[in-house]
């Protein structure tokens, strides 16, 4: 979860939804996200809402976290009422979920299953640090119902990992993926980061090879973002490390897209590639503006046009939960236009694209111009869907601005 706060209106202490959203809830599939705000150490580029044991001290213990999360799951049941909406996906992210004992993860997932029920083919993912899993813990997670695991590999070049301040050795991620496959995970993702200052084209080619041959059926590849307030941003500002160059990032993107495509992994979102049926359904839920409830400090939720986000600090979160209150810090009730804008800015990032029939005449003229510039596939009028070319994916935000209402 990115850490920058967003402005909103106060959220009710009982967590209740505005009537319009409460009524509309249930029309879209429902997912759960569980945030685990702990890491063994903080990576230099990371601005996520996560804390090391040293940062938290005694005020918010990891051992008590599962109980708090379970309490919020119960609150969610109260707020959403007893409508039958079996969950199609659950995602544990962080932080480092696997820093908690597998039993804790199992307990939280169990609470979600007990309160809401999981669909028969539900996708249940956890993020994991290669350093924080063992064959045994992976077995336990499988047994608890996790079906998918996502590892942060980032790079196989030691000097790149050093710039990112990642603690694992290049080979460790490969071993962890092999162990996960052996434990029976049907879907495995690896994260890559590219365009890190100092990373060469060859460095990245080796990382791509490693990811493709690792046995993962899904890769997320992100251009390094120098986020305000991170140690990395400080180093860039002082000139210790060069800034990320957009043109280099564009080159690397093309390199990645070509390598994955050649390996039978197709893009389905700007930064995500998968083998057939390997797409992450949980993330698709975000991009299709479905409903989801986010558990944990700083987590965002979205239910039928209302979005809220929880207080950020684990001890503030714990205080709210222990007092029987909603941990929501603030919320926004999206107007129809805002909902439409979000559908456009998210949908345009997907391989399935936007439905041409839902666009206004003005927006279609933007699409037409974008086609002329080679950003949009030429068959949109015939296919009825506006989809981005490789060049267009790299300029998706620019196009989204032109398409906003």
């Amino acid at each position: 979860m990115p850490s920058l706060p967003v402005e909103g209106e106060p959220a009710p202490v009982d967590g209740s939804l505005p009537p319009a959203s409460a009524d509309a809830f249930g029309q879209r599939p429902l997912s759960f996200y569980v945030h685990v705000p702990y890491c063994a150490s903080r990576c230099g580029y990371c601005d996520f809402n996560t804390y090391t044991a040293a940062e938290l001290g005694a005020s918010a213990s990891q051992s008590g976290y599962a109980a708090q999360a379970v309490a919020e799951v119960r609150l969610a049941r109260q707020v959403l009422g007893d409508r039958e909406v079996p969950l199609s996906t659950v995602f544990f992210g962080g932080g480092t979920p696997t820093l908690l004992p597998a039993q804790d993860l199992a307990r939280m997932l169990g609470a979600i299953r007990d309160e809401f029920g999981l669909a028969a083919d539900a996708e249940v993912t956890t993020e994991a640090n290669p350093d924080s899993v063992t064959p045994e813990s992976l077995e336990l997670l499988r047994a608890a119902g996790f079906t998918r695991i996502s590892f942060g590999m980032q790079s196989v070049a030691t000097h790149v990992l050093a710039v990112l301040e990642r603690t694992h050795t290049p080979g460790r991620a490969i071993e962890a993926i092999r162990d996960a496959r052996a434990a029976g995970f049907a879907h495995v993702n690896v994260d890559l980061i590219y365009a890190t200052p100092g990373e060469t084209r060859d460095d990245f080619a080796r990382s791509l090879d490693a990811a493709i041959s690792s046995g993962a059926d899904h890769v997320s590849a992100y251009s390094l973002i120098v986020e305000e307030g991170t140690r990395l941003a400080g180093k860039v500002r002082r000139g210790d490390i060069a800034d990320v160059e957009d043109d280099v990032a564009a080159d690397r993107y093309v390199q990645a897209d070509e390598a994955f495509t050649a390996a039978g992994m197709h893009w389905y979102e700007v930064s995500n590639w998968a083998q057939p049926n390997g797409e992450c359904r949980h993330n698709l839920a975000y991009w299709r503006s479905d409903d989801w409830w986010g558990i944990g400090p700083g987590a965002h939720s979205h239910i039928a046009g209302t979005r809220w986000w929880n207080v950020r600090h684990p001890s503030a979160y714990g205080d709210r939960i222990n007092a029987g209150l909603s941990p929501a810090q603030a919320r926004e009730i999206l107007t129809k236009d805002q909902q439409r804008d979000e559908q456009i800015l998210l949908g345009i990032r997907l391989r399935e694209g936007l439905e041409a029939g839902t666009l206004s005449a003005t927006q279609l003229s933007v699409v037409d111009a974008a086609m002329g510039d080679g950003l949009v596939h030429g068959d949109w009028a015939a296919s009825g869907r506006v989809t981005l070319t490789q060049k267009g994916r790299l300029l998706a935000d620019r196009l989204a601005i032109d398409l906003l209402s």
Binding site: D247, H302, L345, L394, I401
Partner: protein
């Protein structure tokens, strides 16, 4: 008024009148000296004393310059026991207002040449001194600030004596700040400056040396009576136009306006007719009686002629009507300001404005921004060109975008005579600068051992283009500059257009000498390359003379503009960011398909080419 037995306006014997002005560089203490004179003559007591009483406008006060002159009547009982009437006529202190200065000088019989004893004479003072000598004024050389530790009175007395051809011992030494020597100076004024001479029985003739718009009174006109008498309630005529007005009020300034029955020969005062526009009361014009008036005007009247033009555009297009109203108001008090509506593809609706010079431009712009709360973009200033076509037809070009293409026989540009004073060690650097600015050396004199006066003719266009900044930087700020228009010359001039993605951007077109076209093109193209954000497509920037491209840069197409991650917790922030960017995009100006931020125009039109700020 302090001195009740002093002669009254309208019945003052010319023999006791002394009309004089102070010629000085800014910071050399003119205003302080004037203040001291007001105090010594008892016109203002120290309690009322507002520092630098005579400079009225805030901008003038801040910049330490006097734009609008005034005249103050000082009764003074001299050492001989006689009470004299001293009229101190304040002169505008800047190069753009040479004509106004010349009219103020024409209203005087003498001048105090006031020079800082620690700095010596400056170019502009020297230019005004020459004007005074041309007008046959009695000049009294005075060194000020002799109380300063850095003062070198002997050195600069010798310099002044050398320039005006007197004995160094004749140079008075005062401290306007402490008052030392100011009483003696006033006695010298009485002794040395001739009394005015005129014919009291002739038809009235008075010269206008200033006119100022006042919100409550309308136009207040400052005059010096040469012949006859102007009385309140009589009808007067302006000799340049023949327009007649009723004299609602005449009076003198002492230092607040004091109405009187009349103004007689040699007297200096104001008149009010109720007109609302200073154009109806022009500097240099002759006022006479409407009945049995004079038939021959006093010499020297000239229409104000704008020398420098610039486009003024509101940053926010919806402010255009406000800008128009503001210019209409400023015009009431500024006979030299001219403007007409203009449209720029890049900048929208605005006005092409004509000014006497760069300072005038800057003052107008600053007043528009400050007094009328407008945010403006001004295009690079340019001079007026006279273009003769092959078919002998003639065209006056005040805007580079109107410069004709092809079939041009000759282009004439205004030239000036420039005077530069500087320590002699900088002579080489100055000559080099003037040479690159197409200057021709007309003469060079040593004012003293280590100070040199250089005289050049230069195209005005070269001065308008950051000359003063360059001069200052090459001489570590020690050089001073003055110039006056002396005519025009035929030059090898071309228009350089700047094209963005094939479309000419009118605001960046410039008329430059053929030899400098390339440098201008390279400079502008390079600058724009850095200022214009990358677009979805490659944008060539070309500098061209007609169809011939002389310089080229290109802005590479942007390849990546997408946030790598956009998950559940990112969506709200992302939407808000895009909404904001969408708003920002609306403020972009479109040049063809190229989006140019307004800031890029501002930066391209200003920065290192900021107009010279003569000091």
């Amino acid at each position: 008024m302090a001195n009740s037995s002093a002669p009254k306006p309208g019945s003052t014997d010319p023999s006791v009148i002394r009309n004089f002005c102070i010629i000085a560089h800014i910071d050399h203490g003119k205003s302080t000296l004037a203040d001291r004179m007001l105090q010594i003559t008892g016109v203002v007591d120290s309690r009322q004393m507002r520092a630098q009483y005579l400079d009225r406008m805030d901008i003038e006060r801040e910049r330490g310059i006097t734009i609008k002159s005034q005249a103050v009547r000082l009764p003074f009982t001299a050492d001989d026991g006689v009470t004299y009437i001293l009229n101190l006529i304040d002169t505008p202190g800047h190069v753009d207002f040479t004509y106004e200065v010349s009219r103020s000088l024409a209203a005087c019989e003498g001048a105090i040449l006031l020079v800082d004893a620690a700095q010596g004479i400056e170019a502009q003072t020297l230019a005004n001194l020459y004007l005074a000598l041309e007008n046959d004024l009695q000049v009294i050389p005075v060194l000020n600030k002799i109380d300063l530790p850095a003062a070198q009175p002997e050195k600069y007395a010798a310099e002044l004596a050398h320039i005006i051809g007197c004995d160094p011992a004749d140079v008075l030494k005062v401290s306007a700040k402490t008052g030392v020597g100011v009483g003696e100076l006033l006695n010298e004024v009485v002794k040395l400056i001739p009394a005015p001479i005129g014919n009291a029985d002739a038809p009235a003739r008075a010269m206008i040396f200033d006119s100022v718009y006042d919100t409550y009174r309308g136009v207040v006109t400052y005059v010096r009576v040469i012949d006859g008498q102007l009385s309140t309630r009589e009808r007067i005529a302006m000799m340049s136009t023949g327009a007649t007005h009723e004299l609602l009020e005449v009076g003198v300034i002492s230092p607040e306006p004091v109405p009187s029955a009349a103004l007689g020969v040699g007297e200096v005062g104001y008149l009010i007719t109720g007109v609302k526009d200073v154009r109806q009361s022009r500097v240099g014009d002759t006022v006479t009686s409407s009945l049995r008036g004079a038939t021959e005007a006093l010499g020297g009247y000239r229409d104000p002629k704008p020398m420098v033009f610039s486009g003024l555009y509101p940053l926010d297009g919806s402010d255009y009507p406000l800008l128009r109203d503001a210019l209409d108001k400023l015009k009431l008090n500024d006979a030299a300001l001219v403007y007409e509506p203009e449209t720029s593809v890049a900048l929208g609706f605005g006005f092409r404005c004509g000014f006497l010079g760069l300072l005038h431009l800057e003052i107008v712009r600053e007043r528009l921004e400050r007094e009328f709360n407008l945010d403006l973009i001004s295009t690079a200033p340019n001079v007026v060109y006279r273009v003769t076509m092959d078919d002998r037809s003639e065209l006056i070009v005040t805007n580079p975008s109107e410069f004709p293409s092809g079939k041009i026989a000759e282009v004439n540009e205004p030239i000036v005579r420039a005077t530069i004073l500087a320590p002699s060690e900088y002579v080489g650097a100055i000559m080099e600068l003037c040479q690159t600015r197409r200057g021709a050396l007309m003469g060079m004199d040593y004012l003293s051992e280590d100070r040199v006066e250089l005289r050049y003719t230069l195209p005005l266009a070269e001065i308008v283009f950051d000359f003063f900044d360059a001069l200052k930087s090459k001489t570590r700020g020690y050089a001073s500059l003055d110039y006056e228009p002396i005519g025009e010359q035929a030059s090898d001039l071309v228009k350089v257009d700047i094209l963005l993605h094939g479309d000419a951007v009118d605001a960046f077109s410039a008329i430059v000498h053929k030899d400098k076209a390339y440098a201008y093109g390279v400079h502008m193209a390079g600058k724009l390359k850095d200022l214009i954000p990358r677009q979805q497509f490659e944008v060539p920037i070309q500098a061209a003379i007609g169809a011939r491209v002389i310089a080229r840069e290109s802005i590479r197409a942007i390849r990546k503009d997408v946030l790598a991650k956009c998950y559940g917790g990112d969506i709200s922030r992302k939407r808000k960011l895009l909404e904001k960017q969408k708003e920002g995009k609306k403020r972009m100006k479109m040049v063809g398909r190229v989006e140019v931020p307004q800031e890029a125009f501002i930066a391209a039109l200003s920065t290192d080419e900021s107009p010279a700020k003569p000091k």
